[in-house]
Symmetry: D2
Subunit: 349 residues, 4 copies
């Protein structure tokens, strides 16, 4: 392949500001590859990275992005698991140590030495991205790179969250924020996993979308007078869903979730609003034996599984394609809370 | 056996007040037995029942008590699992429906029709107590009834909490409130289960007691300048304990527990202060994949297991014997937070 | 309801012989009900019961049958979980002790005191059957009693076997004997549970049926030259299915299953040919960490779950209706190995 | 450190024959280290490697050994997880690919590209051994290298087998072959894990040894007239042990194990006699819901855990030290079935 010396990128040189500019193409190390990013999704996390508002140190300057799909064009001399020409995905977890107790248990996302794409390492908002070979997602040749991009973060995260909900096929899972970017993918995963989905969000339009994607029931929190009661009523025995996946754990949805989740059930937190806290009543938590859990991206095996559902046609994230040069407009829409579905950037534009 | 018509009991006719008086001996129904209570422990829950300060309806008048040990003296015609003369235990869960989805899964403590000893049914603070046969703990003939009484609630509860902590032999469990009634038993269970116990409480005396009972380490929260750091340091790799059992989930210990528990670890709430709430930071919960769980007494199998550890001599709850007539003094000491270990009442005095 | 004094039944008075005759209608005990059986499936186990060829004592005379669907017409004075007029199912597990260690863990099928319908107790090949109330399956009013009958044994057994296969949605399960009575239901359960089904059986016709019911792949053991290789090839990475459900564990299919199951995978035995043994090579079992498990009917919770899939329309067992009087012809066809799908008897004919 | 050019080794140039000779010291690759082996245990597997009688290709010539303990004296430029001077252990699993589906799930022992010490790679029967850095066991500085050597295979294998037995503290585990090399370590692990150990072996002497090491009961198969009945009787309720660990799965012990294991219990196969098969009756396996599993060494996390028990003084493998030059005599004793405990070789002699 013909690797250029320069490339276009969106660079954060100062918190909150991105600059679209030409920069040098980087060179991969021994165990790394250079990926020609064809498409990159834009994730809410990218906005946190841009604003640097999380209690986790971020590098500066930084190139954001962690939902990349592209082609390997160069590789370090120790790389054996991918070849030049392979289609691959770049994820939030860019590399881990593989030696710590968490890595030894395949809990890589907890590795204290994890490097994060678009956060502690330059990410996928550039045409050529260096990535650790071991953590690449590997796609078959026929994979549609624009469609698969959102699976790398949104898909993986929500799939893992569903696994962590400890539900089995035939049981109920409530998805809070079901009409949003993660939610619309989550409904499809849950449906393909044999779960009965209770979709929770606001507005009629979202309700229709949720049902089309496979939700058995939709509960509109704008219309409901008693959300806890309504969610419980949506289960055939009135005892509430066995699992809840909270895509937006603001204080109120969390409180409600601990109210309507079935006794012995599980509430999974995925979203991470900066500075948010959740609180729950001890008495109910104890006598109803409720579990509350955090779920954070997924490991390499989870990635392969999430990808497999996509490849078998069970999951398609609705997305709009724009050019890399237009990233600012996506952030603007995000800040205005106007994004429906997912934006995927074509890196050539 | 010679069953009298009248018996002594401690009766709560008005919230907060107990009266020591003679009352009629009750008669068991078809599937019930009459137990001649020989000893009954006094539990913190009895104080909540007395004060009626939980969000759970209590009957009035009520005879408290749910750590009873005695002998079957009469049985309903349908009872087949115990015989007259058998030594048995009466627990908080006095009966359940055996038909609901929770009972069908052996999660009886979640049964919506559960009857609770000393709360929705008259309990063990009387010489002759009616109890459902199916939920009795069954003791071998040689069992010391005074020593086994505290196993019926304190022992069972803390044993179940340890099981719910998802820890395996060789791992670390922190017990918060390790020097108290449940804690001192909990250390012994944890030790017998092959766990490394980090005991947390206040004061030197408690520290020495904890270590004698099997704790590997003791951390004095009164002395520690950074409890989170100190608990982490108590583990050989500095990553914190895999499990935490919170016997007194006040706001501060809970916050600390979510701070020092190992990533992917579990915090179990057992204690239920009236009206308490616990809150946790979403960001940490998610990126460290922490679990928070409630644990509530245990089922019949848990009871048999907790009892088996006791019978094999692995666990001995330190207790003082007093007479039933002296119950008021125990409540007085509890209110003054002066109880060390457990009080067990001799029903004949 | 108007309960007659006499009824029609198929009675086994001598091993191997059934007699269609009038007998008295029995009376339920305290905790029992009388069920007016409307439909009863015929299961391969009924043939073993008839021939008395299992190493498990059977009563004589006996009325066979354990896939009954009917209406409660009378109940003992202690029965609270069903009412007269309720639609209910009678299963192989007719009653258990509810007190032993297995019952305490919701493993009722292992209860040493279990009573078995059509084996140690008179079963559903009669118009009025006495059954223990606690173990009845409970149907909603609109349930089609002929269609639900086979769920009571075939459906429950294969659903439980799939649960025991330790597979998760998205993984592969091979069903051996997929074209038979249990297999055709099993494919549908597996599909509804989000599993990729590799159906294994003999003949083109069965192959087409399996695919229509939801199998992703069909392997014809009559055509395959290397069954182990072919099953492995049917998985996208060539490593074989994570789970195998053996509906007919003859020696050869078992040997093959331990050959093609993925390393760390599970082989579940369900079928029980009289006197059969299975053997496996130790070396492979160890270095590939294979699990082999037996699965035996299911508990009350499993029954409710299996039923729920049926009620949501995910599973429909293909069946033919004949009259109770024609039972002998079903056994004749079974002995000739000519049964396709399930026979369900209309008790009124 | 001063690395010599030549070293002493025991080399297998022809199946069944070892030669003690001087050979060149090898050089580690990028991700490898050179370990100055101080002590190496001798394992029964080494005899299989010598005789080349397993259905698994072995390299020729080969230097055997996979229970090595030594000091890192040289390292490849990519090695970051150990330093020169560190005390480390070399195990059977010498390296794995870290990319396959099994490695991604921390099931490294199932990696199709696994390299095996003393089998597909030269092992620890030499003074300087090359080993993959990622799979080294890491010892604290104060570790006694002769005592820790047997933990690298015997300890790890039996600890993992106990984990795979699905038993919980307080339950029963039967160890078959309890008086042998793995068994004597296994009793100690099981005891430290809170299990009640039923030791099974032949002869009084072994019985006394087993009890000293922590077994609750000893059953002498030479004396027992009905081993199945005797093992069941050794449990307080007569239902048999929840788990069985078979260190020598000959046909007969395996048959017996499936007879006395508690219903719903687990039989773990560890030993791998060349060519052995195990068979079980289908009927019992199904109606008692028995599990049979293979367990094969352990992953890096299992190694760290097994080591931690050793470091905390819970486990000490009885061993005799001899010189590397005397290896032939150990094999002679093994062939004569005369080895008690473990031989550990001092590499300097
Ligand atoms: Zn993201
Ligand atoms: Zn790591
Ligand atoms: Zn219930
Ligand atoms: Zn209590
Ligand atoms: Zn059947
Ligand atoms: Zn039972
Ligand atoms: Zn591998
Ligand atoms: Zn070995």
């Amino acid at each position: 392949a013909d690797i250029p010396k320069e490339q276009w990128a969106q660079v954060t040189e100062k918190d909150g500001v991105i600059t679209y500019k030409k920069i040098p193409v980087p060179t991969p190390g021994h165990d790394e590859v250079l990926v020609n990013i064809k498409y990159s999704g834009v994730c809410h996390t990218d906005l946190h990275a841009l604003d640097n508002d999380w209690p986790l140190p971020r590098k500066t300057p930084v190139i954001g992005g962690h939902e990349g799909a592209g082609v390997v064009v160069q590789k370090g001399e120790l790389v054996t698991n991918v070849d030049i020409g392979d289609k691959v995905g770049v994820k939030w977890l860019m590399s881990t140590c593989f030696h710590c107790t968490f890595c030894q248990q395949a809990l890589e996302s907890l590795c204290p030495k994890a490097q994060l794409s678009g956060y502690t390492k330059d990410g996928t908002f550039q045409q050529y991205c260096v990535a650790n070979a071991a953590h690449l997602a590997r796609f078959p040749p026929q994979t549609d790179l624009s469609a698969v991009a959102p699976i790398m973060c949104a898909g993986l995260t929500v799939y893992k969250g569903l696994k962590e909900s400890d539900t089995r096929p035939g049981q109920y899972v409530a998805i809070v924020g079901a009409g949003g970017g993660l939610g619309t993918i989550g409904i499809q995963y849950a449906h393909a996993m044999g779960l009965n989905v209770i979709a929770i969000d606001g507005g009629k339009e979202k309700g229709e979308a949720c049902k089309k994607l496979g939700a058995s029931m939709y509960i509109d929190f704008k219309e409901s007078k008693d959300l806890v009661a309504d969610v419980k009523k949506a289960t055939h025995d009135g005892l509430g869903p066995q699992g809840v996946v909270l895509l937006a754990p603001q204080e109120q949805p969390f409180q409600q979730a601990t109210g309507y989740v079935r006794s012995h059930g599980t509430v999974v937190c995925i979203g991470m609003p900066a500075g948010a806290k959740v609180s729950m009543p001890v008495f109910d938590t104890v006598v109803r034996m409720i579990k509350v859990k955090g779920s954070y991206v997924g490991n390499r095996e989870d990635t392969a599984e999430a990808l497999d559902f996509f490849l078998r046609g069970k999951v398609h994230a609705p997305y709009k394609v724009i050019g890399l040069s237009q990233l600012q407009s996506v952030f603007d829409e995000m800040r205005a809370n106007r994004v429906i579905g997912r934006y995927v950037m074509d890196m050539s534009k």
